[in-house]
């Protein structure tokens, strides 16, 4: 029961504290929703790794099945699925996201 695409996704999530599956790259996002999440993470100063789903159709579909979530971007922190653009934005606006990253030790307390 091994799915090679799921294995690759799992490895990416295991190897990076903050992993963003997105369209485009952090330097050049190709979708407004992906761009928003990149902007929030950059603003917070959280180091993150990205996977460009547009470069790999297997991952593009695979990440939707893996998370059981139909849209991209998708943010994982320490193996846990946080959400997509709406949830990241909401958590950022309420300050929860900063607290969350601090708790995880990924952000220096201001």
């Amino acid at each position: 029961m091994t799915n090679p695409v799921f294995d690759r996704i799992q490895k990416e999530i295991d190897n990076n504290d903050v992993s963003l599956f997105m369209k485009g790259t952090a330097d050049m996002p190709l979708c407004g929703f992906s761009a928003m999440v990149v902007q929030v993470l950059s603003q917070l100063g959280v180091p993150f790794s990205t996977v460009n789903v547009l470069e790999d159709d297997d991952i593009r579909q695979g990440i939707k099945d893996f998370t059981n979530w139909p849209t991209i971007p998708q943010l994982y922190v320490k193996g846990e699925f946080i959400g997509g653009c709406d949830i990241v934005r909401e958590m950022y606006e309420t300050g929860e996201l900063q607290d969350f990253f601090e708790e995880k030790g990924l952000l220096r307390a201001a």
Binding site: L30, C31, G32, T71, G83, D86
Partner: protein, 87 residues
């Protein structure tokens, strides 16, 4: 499509507030614009069905109610709350 999304969500959540907005025009010519004029939507929904649920659970619930519709649209932005005072 807008009507279909509304009908599905009414049926699934009996919302006290429901607003479905077609944002497609704002995304005209961007990635994901399929020219149908029905590619991007925003849903604002308030329902008692969401009481005690996390944001993730609420969004999952909305996505799973709209599983068929998600196949034909590109993006769905969701603002789901349990009550209008947003607790």
């Amino acid at each position: 499509m807008k009507d279909r999304i509304e009908a599905v969500l009414r049926e699934a959540f009996a919302p006290s507030l429901l607003e479905v907005i077609n944002d497609s025009a704002r995304h005209h010519g961007h990635a994901g614009d399929d020219g149908s004029g029905e590619s991007h939507f925003t849903v604002k929904i308030v329902s008692e069905a969401f009481v005690g649920q996390s944001r993730l659970q609420r969004q999952r619930a909305v996505f799973s109610a709209l599983v068929d519709e998600m196949n034909s649209i590109h993006a769905l932005s969701i603002d789901a709350a349990a009550s209008q005072d947003r607790n």
